[in-house]
Symmetry: C2
């Protein structure tokens, strides 16, 4: 076991080509990106028609074999109906031990557990949560869940850490050449940015659509030049389910208080000024933050330059009213976001490469004046966890959380207790991000500013905000809970690795011995 | 000397890694694309501001050294004012022997001859025409002019045949991060598609703009993630000059007759039907073809699916009247085209990769029902020349001509005589495209269909079109001219290579001994 730069003990993973976390701002481990195979027009129909009769046939033509890496994407979130069709087709071909490399999974993907059980899927390499996270936490998955943020997923493909053999892109509209978009069609779900890395680098790329349009599908989000095969199916899913889960405003008074305090903090700190920019992640508190900050902006007549992240009706209203200059949309979170992307040239699809990839010539994350994110746990040094619960189970997706930490003022807006367990701890169950990138922790009990950020502390001095040290908030919540949180009973067996945005290992995830 | 697949003798060029043309549909010479260096966000300002004070400073920061390859692009066509600023800056740095790798040059670039003379530029590797073509033809340039079509230029960068050290992109609008577009700003010139390969693969990429906009420049055509430095200058050029040269309707009755015959041919052949597609290149005859075919479509109530190529007010009118489903814009030829691209979501910028690259998963060129192109010479086997005049001088750009030959019905619409010299010859001055890809030659004297295309010959049988064999048209024009064209007096010295779309050498260009 070796200790990495955030103090976590990790096993020697050099046989996997992995090294431990070295700090937040280190040079790349490789010198060059991967070089995709040259493909030629001669291999494809001159008339551009790449349709094949079924997903099964497209997979067969793609040369799918045992053990290959197959990717999907979560643009339809909890409404996705393509992953189940994909693995049913793979099973019908008798192909086994697939490494599934999704950009994220959702509770709807519980239906894939039988494919893990029968050996069709070897393991899932990607952000896990809900039922599949619970399944992996129990030690039932054969391989390791390698967790990568959205930006790191792009980087891992670009830099050749992960080679995708077959990518399957669920497209709400496509022409027969494979020019496709998520902004049109009955299952329109917004941007298809998460599929861009796979489109660019996978050996074979299959578009699955339930809305075939005449060539050319304009404007396309992904060019057909990336696509090998196009398959028509009855449905790719239910786009009304993109709002599911983490994209509803909080109705809890306590969480509303947290959101309001976060908004008041950025206002008091002088961050809310003409041309400012912000990101609010999924999750009720972050969304409510947008509503509170919008009220402050309206009161003070402030206009934001741009907002990044998941687009919602709240951001769309600000864009349309002129309070916001542009939406840089990483993921479309509701149908108003879909409409706006279709209609408004200032509502632009971005990919994880634009927004988050650490190995590009700058990205949008660090340009944001402020990002308001969630967390499952925070420690007294401002390190934080976003993937495991305090019972050790891997129940939350990692999403773009690590990438978004790079903003100029990163705020974790969290309740001080969850199910009576204090979330501020001496030691985290899992470290996902280093405290040097986390500037402020806002709880219903008060606001703790990272002592590294003297500039922020000075900026809010004299305000009537409930400023406290993180130790004070910890002590208060421990008093309420009747003591420090119990140490979780974890097995030695690894079930997952949490990687940092540069591909190094920031922590491990272990099997949960006793199910909560 | 070895004979290539189109019968031309070429020298052994294996020391340059070049082989002779092997036929039109051959496997690639390499297995993998090039792997760009990994760059990291740590190298760039966290706030996204990549502005530097001058082009000179940006070049210095890019590590420009003697002998490097520097690229520019021709979106501003004859109105470009960036190449001259670029080479003045290079000269001021004392850097010499630059290989200039433009996507095309125009008569305005005559002002760069002094930089060739003083050694700042070693040679120009790219499509030459006008004064610079004449300069090279006289044997005055130090290196070989390697001519590549637009698609081949993209391919040569993607596949690693050409490594661009520093790319300089003239952008009509950009933000400080380098997100840029050609559709906005006082010098708006339309799409910036020719710069995409350079943006993706060059070591350093500099955006030069005369219209800096607030971040984010939306919608961008080229993402700032590709860009190293942003430089503001007083002017990047005069966008009214994009109409210059080859983008004006013909007023000659003879050429109008050629354009009308071409339109009547595609109509008689059954190509003009609902959903059909066409490309019309630059050049007065091609543009007039669009006007004639539009009249036929209006008369018959036919609607085209899409048009590809340079966009002009003629295509924009068709798009806006509903006669055309979409414009896939490779290059914007007038200010109406610029406006339409800015306003109309069915007017889409394409890159040479989308439209023309032979090493992608299919491209748009082969999907076109018809392409109407020009030529300087055609031989009796339908091979054709588009770069040299019959006096041997390299006076015409190669453009996307070779790429466009892949259409389902490729028509060369040409006068039978130019300056009293027959253009149909026994042997070409320079072979740029193989006759197996050229289906029809339309002259004012009659229409010759390639005997390989029995389907087209049968389709127009019984029409009142003036159908002739190519030998008949040749004989008629030789009779008028008083004999076959004189053999041009060429030196043995090579001044250029014409490459096919896959990078092989289809012909050489030799020094002109006596200036015409």
């Amino acid at each position: 076991m070796i200790q990495n730069a955030v103090g976590r003990l990790i096993p020697d993973l050099s046989d996997r080509g992995l090294v431990g976390f070295r700090g937040v701002d280190q040079p790349p481990l490789k010198s060059n990106q991967v070089a995709p195979a040259i493909r030629t027009c001669s291999e494809f129909p001159a008339n551009g028609d790449k349709r094949v009769e079924s997903l099964r046939e497209a997979l067969r033509m793609s040369g799918l074999r045992d053990g290959m890496v197959v990717s999907t994407h979560h643009h339809l979130r909890n409404g996705d109906a393509v992953a189940i069709q994909l693995f049913a087709a793979i099973r019908s071909l008798g192909v086994r031990d697939i490494v599934w490399f999704p950009s994220a999974v959702f509770p709807c993907h519980e239906e894939l557990i039988p494919f893990l059980e029968d050996g069709t899927i070897h393991h899932i390499e990607g952000s896990l949560n809900g039922p599949l996270g619970d399944y992996a936490s129990g030690g039932r998955m054969r391989g390791l869940a390698v967790l990568r943020s959205h930006g790191n997923r792009y980087r891992s493909i670009q830099d050749g850490d992960v080679h995708v053999d077959v990518a399957v892109i669920a497209a709400p509209a496509s022409d027969h050449f494979g020019n496709c978009t998520g902004a049109l069609g009955p299952s329109a779900c917004g941007g298809l940015g998460f599929a861009m890395a796979d489109a660019e680098y996978a050996d074979r790329v299959i578009v699955v659509t339930d809305h075939l349009v005449d060539f050319p599908c304009v404007p396309w989000q992904i060019a057909g030049n990336h696509i090998d095969h196009v398959v028509e199916v009855n449905t790719i899913g239910d786009s009304t389910q993109i709002v599911a889960g983490t994209t509803v405003l909080t109705s809890s008074p306590e969480r509303q208080r947290i959101a309001r305090l976060a908004a008041e903090f950025v206002d008091a700190a002088g961050i809310v000024r003409d041309g400012w920019s912000f990101q609010a992640g999924a999750g009720g508190i972050s969304l409510s933050f947008v509503v509170f900050v919008q009220e402050i902006m309206a009161r003070r007549g402030v206009r934001a330059g741009f907002a990044r992240g998941g687009s919602t009706k709240y951001l769309v209203e600000m864009l349309e009213s002129g309070q916001l200059g542009a939406i840089l949309d990483g993921q479309t979170f509701d149908l108003e976001g879909v409409r706006s992307m279709r209609e408004n040239r200032s509502h632009v699809m971005t990919t994880p490469w634009n927004s988050y990839c650490a190995h590009t010539k700058g990205n949008f994350a660090s340009m944001l004046d402020c990002a308001v994110l969630g967390a499952t746990e925070v420690d007294v040094n401002f390190n934080a966890n976003v993937v495991t619960h305090s019972d050790g189970r891997l129940l939350h997706g990692i999403g773009g959380w690590q990438d978004a930490l790079l903003s100029q003022c990163t705020i974790l807006a969290v309740p001080s207790l969850r199910n009576r367990v204090p979330i501020i701890r001496d030691e985290l169950t899992t470290v996902c991000g280093s405290g040097e990138l986390i500037d402020v922790v806002v709880t219903e009990r008060g606001i703790a500013v990272n002592p590294r950020r003297m500039d922020l502390i000075e900026a809010v001095e004299g305000s009537d905000l409930p400023l406290k040290s993180i130790a004070e908030i910890q002590a208060e919540s421990e008093k309420l809970a009747g003591g420090k949180p119990a140490r979780v009973d974890l097995d030695d067996e690894l079930i997952g690795l949490v990687t940092w945005i540069d591909g190094t290992v920031i922590d491990t995830v272990r099997r949960v011995r006793t199910r909560a």
